[in-house]
C-alpha cells in the first residue's frame, strides 16, 4: 500500500513539475491566442487526469485485501500468476 502512495506522490510531483514548465513556456513565450488556448486545455486536462489518479488510488485503498492477496505469492490463495 505504501508503495502505491509513494508512487502517487512521485507521479503527481513529476507530472505537475513538467506541467508547470509547459504552462510557463506557453504563457511566457507564446505569441497570439493559440498558445493561451493550448495552455487552458492542457491545464484542464491535467487537473482531470490528476483527479482520476486520486480516485484510482482511493479505489485501490478500498480494494486492499484483493490487491494484497494478488501480490502475496506465499499466500495459499490462487493468484494471477498461478
Amino acid at each position: 500500500m505504501t508503495i502505491l502512495i509513494i508512487a502517487f506522490i512521485v507521479i503527481g510531483l513529476l507530472f505537475w513539475l513538467h506541467g508547470f514548465f509547459i504552462l510557463y513556456h506557453f504563457i511566457r513565450f507564446g505569441v497570439g491566442t493559440r498558445p493561451k488556448q493550448a495552455a487552458l486545455v492542457f491545464f484542464i486536462g491535467s487537473l482531470a487526469l490528476f483527479f482520476l489518479l486520486l480516485v484510482a488510488l482511493i479505489g485501490v485503498m478500498l480494494e486492499v485485501p484483493s490487491v494484497l492477496k494478488m501480490i502475496d505469492i506465499t499466500n495459499e490463495a490462487p493468484t494471477l500468476w498461478q
Binding site: I11, F15, F29, G30, V31, G32, L57, E63
Partner: protein, 191 residues
Amino acid sequence: MAIKLSVFTQSHYSFEGMRPEEEVDIFLYSHWLIPVMKFIYYALLTALPLVPLLFFAREIVEYEIISLVFFVLIAYYMLLWSIMFYEFMIYLLDTWIVTNERILDINQISFFIRTTAELDLSRVQDISVRTSGFIQTIFDFGDVEIQSAGAVNKFLFRQVAHPQMIKDKIMKLVIEAKKSAPQGTTQGAEV
C-alpha cells in the same frame, strides 16, 4: 470577465523585443498536418493498453483489481498527456514572424533552450520556395528559404502552408522596406 477571457480570443501578435512602431505582417507555424500526424500517433498509443485490458478482462474482474489497473492506466495516460503537450508546445513556440521591419526565426529546441535569429527586410536578397513530394504538393506546404546579403545564415521557414503566397508577401515587404530604408543603415543579427 469578458475582458479577462479575451486573452484566449483577441490576443495581439506581440512578442519579446518588439519595437514600438513595429507591426506583425506574417505570423507562421509549420503546416497543421505536422501536429495532426503526431496527434494520430498519440491516439494510437492511447488505444494501445486497451488491447491487453480486453484480453485479461475476465482475470481483472475475478481478482478484483480493477482499481489497481485503473491506477496504472491513468498514470500511463498522464505520461502520454505530458509528452504530447510537450511536443505541441515545441510546435507552437517554433515560429516565424515577418514584421514591417524584419524577419524573426524563433526556434524552441526544448525546455528553456530557445534561439531567436533576426534579419532586416532590407538585407534580403533572394527568396526561394521548395515543395517536394506528393503530400506537400496536395496540401500546399513546403520550405521558404531566404538568402541575406551579409554573412548571416540562410533563413528557412520549414514546412509552412502556402509557401508561394508567403514568398510573394515577403517580397512585397522587402521592396517597401528597401524603398524606405536609408542606404547603409541596415543590418542583420543573430541573438
